[in-house]
Amino acid sequence: MTSVTEVRRPAGRPGPGRGTRRAVDHGPWFLVLPALIPILVLSVGPLLHGVLLAFTDAQSGRTEPTRWIGTLNFRDLLHDTLFWESFRIGLVWAVGVTVPQFLLALGLALLLDQDLRLRWLARALAIVPWAMPEVVVGIMWRLVYNPDAGVLNETLRDLGLGGDRDWLSGLATALPAVIVVGVWAGMPQTTVALLAGLQNTPRELHEAAAVDGAGAWRRFRTVTWPAIRPVALAITALNLIWNFNSFALVYVLTSGGPGGRTRLPMLFAYEEAFRYGQFGYAAAMGCVMVAAISVLLAVFLVGRLKGGDRA
């Protein structure tokens, strides 16, 4: 394809073709500026500034000038058991949400790719969690989990399975309960991405495999999975990042309680920065989070890519 156009271009119409090319050359700089300046000023700049703040004793509302304190914040963090506990919860949450999210979304996408009745309804419903404000998702599930007026306990009572649990305040149930909400809230994006990947799978391959007598699982392994693998990897990596950095859902559901059992690193850093005013210390936490997520991603991507080569 490329070679054909390359051959044809100089021979076909050299004059105007090259003319437009050159004209475009002047365009980019001024066309890019409107987006580039805000990105530089309000995204690249602040993020670098944020990283630098981690090496200072910046505090909210302080009159004395901020000083460089080297790696003191990081050394303090090292001994901050509360932070590491929060960090551990963050990892459990990120993996605990991302994995079921992927499996459930894959199942749903495979179903939606079939010729089923009610598919339109499922497609519409699958989008709903995506459209909702996270705060509303949190409020909604608070109503579901409510010990007295909630539908979960009511259903359990009807089934004779107890039903007097306070899901979001129980030390043992709080984290699993918020993880379920996380899975629910993030399913749409994953489903949509996987479904699109599925619809790019060549039908003929499927049919050929079926004619050859391949069972559903083998068809999935040999035809479907290779086709959706790039999409699956990309969306899972993104989900991992988004989930690790998530805030609003858990803030509304439990505010990090009970006893810090659901205090994700973002909630911890938010409190450190905007309740206690420790900007420098909170920035150091942010840096540790970026480092962690980078390592996590590197491990995930390297592992997956290698696994793919063998398969």
């Binding site: 987006a35 699958a126 699109a196 973002m266 840096c287 997520i293």
Partner: protein, 277 residues
């Protein structure tokens, strides 16, 4: 493809389970919003309210400045969406049409910036906005939203631009149309639906956004809808369920309507952006 009857039945059962899982929390929210206080206090809440009432909605508006908050949200989301699209479209055009180092750097940044937790971004922005006296103001929030919306706006728009064949523009150039003329009368009309979809998507994300609004807006009269919604939940986590549900239900409606309109385009645009880059 042939599917056995047993397998079909299994598929329908699975689909039904998904439908229930996806729908029940929302249906419960709606049900709670229309229940009377007496029923909410009873130990056996039903799916269908005994005597549906609008009292919760009235009470919600009495308790919190919902209308004002909705106006703030509308103002912030509309401005952010418009500015983001105006700013992103030319850049997306360049990124799609040319593989320059700049375009690559911009794309790289879009991806990298996703990995940074918002704390690292919000503390410096908080300090900057404070110096500019834009803290606790909707314009300050709009600035943050624009930057926050830019990555996916660029992403989606780049996909839409790629979908407009460059040959059409070249043909117009051959026919003697100038650059500007080509952009205005050939590219823009084909790009318009994509631009609208991107703007609407940016609108919904800003309308739904919570974290930045929570940090930046302190005065109750300036707060946006999601922040005001959290005021229904008391300090001890005890909430007046009826009004809470009613307000949450109302706050969701605009997002649902907009999403219903653009659903198809969004997924199409994201994929177009994803497939080729």
């Amino acid at each position: 493809m042939r599917t056995g009857r047993g397998a079909r039945a299994g598929q329908y059962a699975a689909l039904l389970a998904y439908l229930v899982f996806l729908a029940f929390p929302f249906l419960w929210l709606v049900s709670t919003a229309f229940k009377s206080p007496r029923e909410l206090g009873s130990l056996h809440p039903a799916w269908i309210p005994d005597d549906p009432t609008l009292a919760n909605f009235r009470q919600a508006f009495d308790e919190q400045p919902l209308l004002h908050a909705a106006l703030n949200s509308l103002l912030a989301a509309l401005s952010a969406a418009l500015i983001a699209v105006v700013v992103a479209t030319p850049t997306a055009y360049v990124m799609a049409r040319r593989r320059s180092a700049l375009a690559r750097a911009a794309t790289g940044w879009v991806v990298v910036s996703q990995a940074f937790p918002f704390v690292l971004l919000i503390i410096p922005l908080f300090l900057v906005l404070k110096n500019l006296r834009l803290i606790d103001s909707v314009p300050g929030l709009v600035m943050v939203y624009v930057v926050w919306a830019l990555p996916f706006a660029l992403w989606m728009l780049t996909g839409y631009v790629r979908a407009v064949p460059a040959e059409l523009e070249e043909a117009a150039a051959v026919d003697g149309a100038g650059r500007l003329r080509t952009l205005v009368s050939v590219t823009a009309p084909l790009l318009a639906p994509g631009i609208v979809a991107t703007a609407l998507f940016a609108f919904v994300t800003a309308w739904n956004e919570f974290f930045f609004a929570l940090v930046l807006l302190k005065t109750p009269e300036k707060q946006t809808l999601p922040v005001v919604l959290t005021h229904f939940i008391g300090a001890e986590g005890v909430a007046d369920l009826g009004p809470l549900a009613a307000a949450a239900f109302l706050a969701t409606l605009p997002s649902l309507v907009v999403f219903a309109i653009i659903q198809r385009r969004i997924t199409g645009g994201m994929l177009a952006g994803a497939v080729k880059s």
